[in-house]
Point group: C2
Chain length 201, copies 2
């Protein structure tokens, strides 16, 4: 079954309280996202850890119940932190990071690497028979392969879409709107091992 | 069969002539690489396209018969170019890029994204029965999957190692020295498609 790819570049979610510590103006949409009600805001922040900074990081609105910074692994090397892979909203072991706005700055245990996930409604999930919690996706092309650990994220008013971070997308030359194939096989067990002895260098 | 991962971050190879246009001093090794005779040089350059620059890019020595800049897809987005995926040494459709050293600068059609490849000697290849031109590698962990299009690169004095660029490595949380499994299956045909109708949004 085919699904469209949405590429999530680094972004920030903020609680209303945290947003008001960073900005004096109200949060405004610059561009609607495919997920209903979600938008890329006009407002951007700077991320800071030690001497390393990343500027122009977009806020994704509306405000959330939690403050969260979604980074790629590439970003975490630059910032010199070891952020965990997490489902959005799960901030267990999230790393401390400073978020700077025009009005002020806050430091929160908020930095994660978002997992690979599929947004879907309950109705579509039944229609499409995607009853498992996790799938894989198959990517063709000159940098082909399979991405495992793709979680199903069921919620009302979801737009059926696969969300990947920029590392996953760039490893496979995928861009926003490309289509890939959802698959579900025990590939880890089914694949035939190559012959030959183990190599001892 | 298991193989160690070598992560190639962005780097530059230079002809001796081009090197001498950029530097007054001779090319010196800072650190030996696993591939015999290869080294990360003390000397670094700046890459430049339009107003975008990337500093501190390492030269990998010794000098080559060609000048080549190996970037990740992430780098190419930053530099705003569409560099092709190529085997090292194949500069067909390589993109123009300016390389700046302390002595001068050169502009060459040199920018590529290196393909995924395995370094191996003829002897090891026979011993390990890796007679095909291309394999896949299986990666376990919390960001698991399969990387396709992994080319076999046979040469004398090779160290048996899988070279991935930083996007491929970061998508799967792989770092230098990690081990992955070489596999060879027609996964594109063997995998069971998920049931259910195609989704029409």
């Amino acid at each position: 079954m085919r699904i469209k790819v949405g590429v999530s570049v680094r972004h920030v979610h903020l609680t209303e309280e945290d947003y008001n510590l960073l900005f004096d103006e109200s949060l405004k949409s610059e561009r609607e996202l495919n997920q209903p009600g979600q938008f890329a805001a006009k407002q951007k922040v700077t991320l800071k850890i030690g001497t390393r900074t990343i500027e122009n990081v977009r806020i994704i609105g509306p405000c959330r119940d939690y403050t969260q910074v979604e980074l790629s692994k590439t970003d975490t090397y630059y910032l010199k932190i070891n952020a965990p892979v997490r489902t959005s909203g799960d901030l267990k072991d999230a790393k401390g990071i400073t978020i700077v706005g025009p009005k002020g700055s806050i430091t929160r245990k908020a930095a994660i690497i978002a997992d690979r996930h599929i947004h879907i409604t309950k109705e579509d999930r039944e229609l499409l028979q995607l009853s498992d919690d996790e799938y894989q996706v198959l990517i063709k092309g000159e940098k082909s392969g399979i991405l495992g650990n793709v979680k199903i994220k069921e919620a009302p008013n979801s737009y059926f879409e696969l969300h990947l971070d920029s590392d996953d997308a760039n490893a496979f030359n995928l861009k926003q709107g490309d289509e890939v194939e959802i698959v579900k096989v025990k590939i880890w067990k089914k694949i035939k091992k190559t012959k030959g002895k183990s190599f001892q260098s």
